[in-house]
């Protein structure tokens, strides 16, 4: 096949076929359109304002590595005026997170950004290795997910940032839409496509790669020779997500626009008022001060289960009730008072009062 010229500059040889448009473009034009689309996503959603302190949730994987690189480039090119930080969570998984954190430490040098690493060990007193040795490999992802979410917020508070950006890409979001549909989780469906979310008192989180295809992120990393880490978590049996992912890739192979189409479907689901009303009101955890829909937040409940050797008590509502009934009957020991708890969470007031705009479908 004779080399085809780039559809944009008509000079250089086309080297990538864009999944979104089918356009065949050269390396330099690809860099330019990829970065410009992320810039447009950021400006259209008004994600930042000058002077914002922004933490990039960095795992050492492809998405967050490319995100850090692109955020730095755009911040310089368009004078966003942002102070950028790298924030990594160390779950304490030997042979996985320790290796990927080495990548993040190299990124810190390569991108000259300050790096904060917060570990589960430091925050909760438990590494994932130790949690898995107690709970086995069935519910471990529940612990990890709940603990990671809170750890990111707390790490961000330590850096006193206004905003966390994560590397979630279009494929990830489409996958989550599919999973929420398959689980019938209507309340989450609309929320999961929001480019920016903010809880009652948590730090804003957004996804500048919301419309970036995974293929393009990987090609970008490859062409730029970015240094990233790619091994599956050794404890990740999230089989459900795995199936959703394979299904999505199969759809994409037939019709590449499937990914954006699914995101648009998710956005089009509007939550009716009566459904919203049944969602619990947010309050703060009485034990650790983190936002919660119950008196005790999920992380505190899970941690208490671990500490009392009833790890699975925190997983289900029924298990938690049993725990409380034992307390009431004075059966269980030790009492919660002597247990390891999470340090109290106080969010320093920031100057930010801007309201985060969500895209209109």
């Amino acid at each position: 096949m004779p080399p085809r010229p780039c559809a944009l500059c008509a000079k250089a040889k086309a080297m990538i076929k864009r999944p979104k448009t089918g356009q065949q473009i050269c390396k330099d034009c690809f860099f330019y359109v990829f970065e410009t689309e992320v810039h447009n996503t950021i400006t259209e959603a008004k994600l930042f304002k000058p002077g914002d302190r922004v933490a990039i949730g960095a795992s050492g994987g492809k998405d967050s590595t490319v995100l850090a690189y692109v955020m730095k480039a755009l911040n310089e090119r368009y004078n966003y005026g942002l102070n950028l930080f790298l924030l990594s969570i160390d779950e304490g998984i030997t042979g996985y997170r320790d290796d990927s954190l080495e990548t993040v430490k190299r990124n810190q040098q390569q991108y000259s950004m300050p790096l904060k690493i917060l570990s589960y060990e430091e925050l909760y007193g438990w590494t994932m290795d130790r949690i898995v040795s107690q709970v086995g490999r069935k519910n471990n992802c529940t612990f990890c997910g709940v603990f990671r979410r809170q750890a990111l917020d707390r790490g961000a508070a330590m850096l006193s940032v206004d905003h966390i950006v994560t590397g979630h890409n279009a494929d990830d979001i489409a996958e989550t839409v599919l999973m929420n549909i398959m689980r019938g989780d209507i309340a989450r469906l609309g929320r999961c496509t929001a480019i920016c979310t903010q809880g009652e008192d948590t730090i804003r989180r957004s996804k500048p790669f919301k419309y970036a295809y995974e293929k393009e992120i990987v090609m970008y990393a490859y062409f730029k020779k970015l240094d990233y880490f790619s091994t599956e978590c050794i404890y990740s049996p999230d089989a459900y997500r795995g199936h959703a992912r394979v299904f999505l890739k199969d759809l994409e192979a037939v019709r590449p626009s499937a990914i954006i189409d699914i995101i648009h479907s998710g956005e089009a689901f509007e939550i009716k008022e009566e459904i919203k009303a049944t969602q619990k009101v947010q309050q703060t955890c009485t034990r650790c001060g983190y936002m919660s829909s119950n008196a005790l937040c999920k992380a505190c409940t899970l941690l208490e289960g671990l500490e009392r050797g009833m790890a699975n008590a925190g997983i289900t509502d029924r298990g938690t009730k049993q725990l409380r009934m034992q307390d009431a009957a004075g059966e269980a020991s030790p009492t919660p008072d002597n247990l390891r708890t999470i340090p109290f969470f106080e969010l320093k007031p920031t100057s930010t009062t801007m309201i985060c705009l969500e895209p209109t479908p």
Binding site: M1, R4, K13, A14, M15, I16, K17, Q24, S59, G61, K62, D63, S64, S100, G167, H168, N169, D171, D172, E214, K215, I217, V218, M219, Y222, F223, F229, S230, T231, E232, C233, R245, V246, K249, D250, E252, A253
Partner: protein, 118 residues
């Protein structure tokens, strides 16, 4: 025409784990291969029954001779599993005819998994 061609194959994005954790491989492939991509070493290609070795043949060859475990994570239905990117001399294989690209001596083929961690 030479009876074999040498090519370089590279795996990344976590795919290397299926290939003995080795990223880079040098291979010698027969220049002419059976139409059905049979990769057995002693296979005889009858006159008019062959084709130049192409990427589809390479994928079958890698599956049959280099893959250490879990073939379904690499190959599916005669091509790579969805979510694996292929580059032919640094160009997206979708621009080069995908499996039908006829390999040339010295070509470099890269396989990257997009399925591993963010």
């Amino acid at each position: 025409m030479e009876s074999t061609i040498s090519i370089k194959v590279e795996f990344s994005g976590g795919l290397e784990l299926l290939f003995d954790n080795k990223r880079s491989h040098e291979l010698a492939l027969p220049a002419v291969v059976p139409l059905n991509n049979d990769t057995k070493k002693d296979v005889v290609v009858a006159e008019g029954q062959g084709k130049p070795a192409d990427v589809a043949y390479l994928i079958a060859y890698l599956r049959d001779h280099l893959l250490q475990e879990r073939a379904e994570l690499f190959e599916e239905g005669g091509t790579v599993r969805p979510g694996i990117l292929v580059l032919v001399n640094d160009t997206d294989w979708e621009l080069e005819g995908e499996g039908e690209y006829a390999l040339r001596d010295g070509d470099e083929i890269v396989f990257i998994s997009t399925l591993h961690g963010g």
